[in-house]
Subunit: 197 residues, 2 copies
């Protein structure tokens, strides 16, 4: 298709063979590796280069315990067992950094004082960056276990009491135990989800 | 870091050297390649495997002309010049497919009749999938040019008149012209966007 594309091994690592993990090997994840994940994900595109994603990596036992009361029952054990749980959030004051981040226009003025535009843009682009973050983790050999099953208000209160960062989703990170994987659920075919016009 | 990770070439292709393109080479993108992009992106995780992303690839001149009146002025020329513009949308009836897609619980009941939960989940997971889609396109050697600068109501009216699919963002696809790239804007450092606790 092209002279530059990922190898089959790379496509398997990111997409085809990668699975959402709930069981974790007893193998630590270094701070350097977490930084490397972010330092890849940060390059991928956002609208007006706004980069609203913020991440708190809950790695210590103390941080995990602050997270525990917010987790849906079915997500407690796997999150406590994971080496790291990334709290993927977005910053409702992202636009204050636009003068520094976007050189082509006064993009701050598109958002300042417009809470609906801020919320929509932060949620869209913060989620896009969440997708990049998951791909970057896999690109560096980590397995991921993203989750929506938690109490957002409790996470925000425990980790973002100032109210400008809002949790989006949680994502366990580590090295998955393949023996604990369930059968894979099906995906929508191209014709169910796409159309070429 | 791990015995399994992308090569430097792969990391450059997806993240470090990849750029958002506005100028396009005169080089077509085949339907088979568009299908291959989706068939990679579909494997990446969504909440309860809900897969709300839908994509219409505007490739013909007729489809491009239907899109044109919705584009912000600064996005017209580059979109008309791109081989394909992907209209990345989400399906507000995604939950009707959950009985087929998620085997572990009756996830349809979490959403049926709950429009706020539907909207939030479709937007979050449709955007995550948008991030996977952009990474999949790059993994297969395509360049991308995602855009938020367009009139959503006009796109929805022109392409999704039934009202159940909602446009999320647009993404030009093709082979970029590196000679038309501006200098790269900066990214937030790890310490500006992340914390390890």
């Amino acid at each position: 298709m092209s002279e530059r594309m990922l190898s089959d091994t790379g496509l398997d690592l990111l997409f085809r063979a990668a699975r959402t993990h709930k069981g974790w090997q007893d193998r630590a994840v270094s701070d350097v590796l977490l930084q490397a994940v972010y330092d890849l994900a940060k390059w991928a595109p956002t609208s007006a280069n706004c980069q609203p994603m913020r991440v708190v990596f809950a790695k210590s036992q103390a941080a995990k315990e602050r997270l525990r009361p917010a987790l849906m029952q079915g997500n407690v054990d796997k999150t406590m067992a994971a080496p790291v749980c990334a709290i993927v959030a977005y910053d409702l004051e992202f636009h204050e950094k636009l003068p520094e981040l976007f050189s082509q226009a006064d993009a701050r003025s598109w958002f300042a004082g417009k809470p609906d535009a801020i919320q929509e843009n932060a949620f869209r682009n913060g989620s896009l960056q969440g997708g990049y973050f998951i791909m970057a983790a896999r690109a560096l050999g980590l397995d991921v276990g993203p989750m929506s099953g938690f109490d957002k208000a409790k996470v925000n209160q425990a980790f973002f009491p100032e109210g400008t960062w809002q949790v989006n989703f949680l994502c366990n990170l580590g090295y998955g135990d393949p023996d604990q994987l369930p059968p894979r659920d099906k995906r929508l075919d191209f014709d169910q989800a796409c159309d070429i016009q």
